[in-house]
């Protein structure tokens, strides 16, 4: 087991390395660097000024040197001002060492955000916290609701309850966040006026039922149908097993059979599905946070991507790739742990 986890962690590190190289390559493309230079200098800068800005801030170094610096395996050179001969930080809002140092991801330095004018860590981690809060409430609503729907539908396959609930879950899987978000806003915010159509106040004044229900609801709906269908399939399969028939023939009531015998076995498969939902939720977070103006990870990612904020975007991709791979690992380990029939070799 330990060997399995270690090997998976190794693959994870390799994947993260490959993906960050790809991201780094794509944001370092010439048009993107131009865009960054234009946004960081005065608007009427000439070509030469843009070029000199890029050169001065080290964007013209070799690709692998820059990647190594970001990673922390190549020393970052201090920025020497040509006129005074003194070391000055590249960005006024970020501290930088006066001597060449290893200062990258491996040392815990995420770099500087050119858009928000703060160190990346100061922007990224509060945003992750805000998104964590959103995710927590989404999970709290989504998981019980979808499991309940799935179990109720799968309990008696083909019954009317099953048909209605299955139709409802197909319906929700056809409703991406930007569709349900609009519909919920129209119904609950514009027509009924019960809820706030924006979660902007949640960042400053804390979350309330009034400003946080719509984002949570919007995100949960898309996932509910999928998890419910998986739970239903698993439940249907379990209900046809011999031991369920034995339990029924022993004279146990239907509810006792479902709760004591079927449920535990039927919930193994949905566990995996729920864990694998995280990457999906990541896209949802971006949509929902943009739509409801909630300043979390998704909002940060969009801002970073549209302003070509290199360090921030790299930080964001590192975090999201980590989340995806880590939940995959957790789901594999958890599955092996929950289901004794599966043994990891």
């Amino acid at each position: 087991m330990l060997q399995f986890i270690l090997r998976r962690l190794g693959i994870m590190a390799l994947t993260m390395l490959c993906l960050t190289v790809v991201v780094f390559f794509l944001i370092s493309l010439e048009p993107n660097l131009k865009k960054l230079a234009i946004s960081q200098t005065e608007s009427r800068a000439t070509q030469e000024q843009l070029e000199s800005w890029l050169l001065r801030n080290g964007y013209r170094q070799n690709f692998f040197v820059r990647y190594g610096q970001w990673l922390g395996v190549v020393k970052k050179q201090p920025n020497i001002d040509a006129s005074t001969g003194k070391a000055t930080p590249r960005f006024v809002f970020c501290d930088e060492a006066d001597v060449p140092t290893y200062s990258g991801i491996l040392q815990g330095d995420f770099g500087c955000s050119t858009k928000f004018r703060v160190p990346v860590a100061a922007k990224l981690f509060p945003a992750l916290g805000a998104t964590g809060l959103l995710m927590f409430w989404v999970m709290v609503t989504m998981v019980p609701v979808s499991l309940l729907i799935g179990v109720l539908a799968g309990m008696r396959e083909g019954s009317r309850t099953d048909r209605v609930l299955s139709a409802a879950s197909i319906m929700t899987t056809a409703t991406p966040e930007y569709v349900s978000g609009v519909i919920f806003s129209v119904v609950f915010a514009s027509w009924l006026g019960w809820l706030n159509g924006s979660a902007a106040s949640a960042t400053a004044q804390g979350i309330t039922f009034y400003n946080f229900t719509l984002p949570v609801m919007t995100m949960a709906v898309y996932g509910i149908g999928y998890i419910a269908r998986m739970t239903r399939a698993s439940m249907v399969e379990v209900m046809t097993q011999q031991y369920i028939r034995t339990a029924r023939l022993k004279g146990l009531s239907f509810s006792a059979v479902v709760i004591k015998h079927a449920l535990r076995n039927a919930l193994i498969a949905p566990f995996t599905v729920i864990m694998l939902q995280f990457p999906w939720l990541l896209t949802g977070v971006v949509i929902v946070e943009t739509m409801f103006r909630y300043q979390g990870f998704g909002y940060t990612l969009v801002e970073a991507a549209s302003n070509n904020d290199i360090d921030l975007l790299l930080g964001c991709s590192l975090v999201s790739v980590f989340v995806v791979l880590f939940t995959q690992l957790l789901s594999d380990i958890g599955y092996a742990y929950l289901n004794p029939r599966i043994r990891v070799q």
């Binding site: 794509l26 865009k35 409703t175 930007y178 569709v179 915010a189 159509g197 971006v286 991507a305 549209s306």
Partner: protein
């Protein structure tokens, strides 16, 4: 200025009337299919279930809407009639600035919401199925050897697939579908690679089958390379000698991004199916006969994997539609005035506090189309499990 409005009932009647070519075609196609359903195989069996009929009806509805968009829509999707800004549903265009009724009202740029919704279906129904087909080709061409040979090829290809799958879709889109990237050769290189797969796929398909029958082989190979090469020239280099096949660079970029995002999923499914099917007896029989590995993959395994693949393709077209909507919602790739549903939802969702009606038609259109595909996939799965 006050606009005249027609009532809700009249709006309903006019909308139904505007879709007249759709109703006629649906009646013909579905009626004929229902009549001959016994001879139509899996497709015909769909007419035996309520879910299947509803799914088919919705899909046909949008298909014919896309085909007849210019007949159904009564206005140009990007034309603006200034006086109709934020007009409520059913507003009549005043004399002098045109004639007709804004059935679903006007948006903030005073365009007809109804016509935009109808024309939006064209973009979605061209890109989503085509991109899914390409993803299917790419996924199948790579998934077959990965599942069949296993070993190093499998490890390598699976690692690549997992790499792409570990990317959050939205980040991938932000990186691949920026305007700046069109100045670099990246989208064209990717297009060049992806569009090569169908040609390879069909060449292999015909070569393995007709290896010993040169008369058939040369014709089929020649046709594949001719047609494939023609489309390839048109799409990748935008240099179609006849000038028929052409694609807007922006759309090419979107197309590539969507294919790139969804082929690893197909790859995984194909690989899993192949690993399951290759243990069957008829594969062992084919191996004993001395058939080449690619013949076994393409002519023994692939046809036997078609059931799950068809279901997956249906679901995947729906998912691709959602992806396209996401692209539109973030304003990536498509032109800002493009009538596609995602862009329309983005425009409308920013103004929900003041006007609601431009938001609803595109959302409901997108939802119903994806729902139709999901129902269809559900019915197909049920029917293919039966036999």
């Amino acid at each position: 200025m006050n606009l005249e409005h027609i009532g809700a009932f009249q709006i309903l009647i006019s909308v139904i009337a505007r879709f007249w070519p759709v109703w006629i075609c649906m009646a013909i196609v579905m009626g004929a299919s229902y009549f001959y359903r016994k001879k139509l195989g899996l497709y015909g069996q769909l007419y035996g279930t309520g879910v299947g009929v509803i799914g088919l009806a919705v899909c046909f509805f949008w298909l014919f809407t896309a085909i007849f968009a210019s007949v159904i829509a009564n206005f140009d999707p990007i034309a603006q009639i200034a006086v109709m800004k934020d007009a409520l549903p059913g507003a009549v265009v005043p004399e002098g600035s045109g004639h007709g009724v804004y059935l679903f009202g006007g948006d903030k740029l005073s365009r007809d919401v109804f016509s935009r919704m109808v024309f939006g279906s064209q973009i979605v129904l061209i890109i989503a199925p085509a991109a899914t087909m390409f993803a299917l080709m790419v996924g199948a061409t790579l998934g077959l050897p990965a599942g069949y040979y296993g070993g190093k090829i499998d490890t390598f290809l699976s690692f690549l697939a997992n790499l792409v799958l570990a990317f959050p879709v939205i980040l991938l889109f932000y990186l691949l579908v920026t305007p700046g990237i069109m100045e670099t050769p990246i989208p064209y290189v990717m297009a060049g690679i992806f569009f090569l797969f169908p040609i390879i796929f069909f060449c292999m398909l015909f070569y393995t089958r007709f290896k010993r029958r040169p008369d058939r082989l040369y014709i089929l190979l020649g046709l594949t390379i001719l047609i494939g090469g023609w489309v390839y020239l048109g799409l990748v280099f935008n240099a179609d000698p006849l000038g028929i096949v052409a694609i807007d660079p922006n759309q090419l970029n979107i197309f590539i991004a969507v294919v790139f995002a969804s082929s690893p999923g197909v790859f995984r499914i194909v690989r899993g199916l192949v690993m399951d099917i290759k243990t069957r007896d008829y594969i062992a029989a084919a191996q004993t006969r001395g058939e080449s590995p690619w013949y076994i993959m393409l002519w023994e395994i692939l046809p036997n994997a078609r059931g799950p693949l068809i279901v997956d393709t249906c679901l995947r077209i729906g998912y691709t539609t959602i992806l396209l909507g996401t692209l539109g919602y973030f304003g990536l790739g498509l032109a800002p005035e493009s009538p596609d549903w995602g862009t329309a939802i983005k425009d409308a969702s920013r103004l929900l506090r003041t006007t609601i009606h431009p938001a609803l038609p595109p959302t409901i259109a997108l939802m119903s189309f994806v729902l139709g595909l999901n129902l269809l996939a559900d019915a197909l799965r049920e029917q293919s499990l039966k036999d």
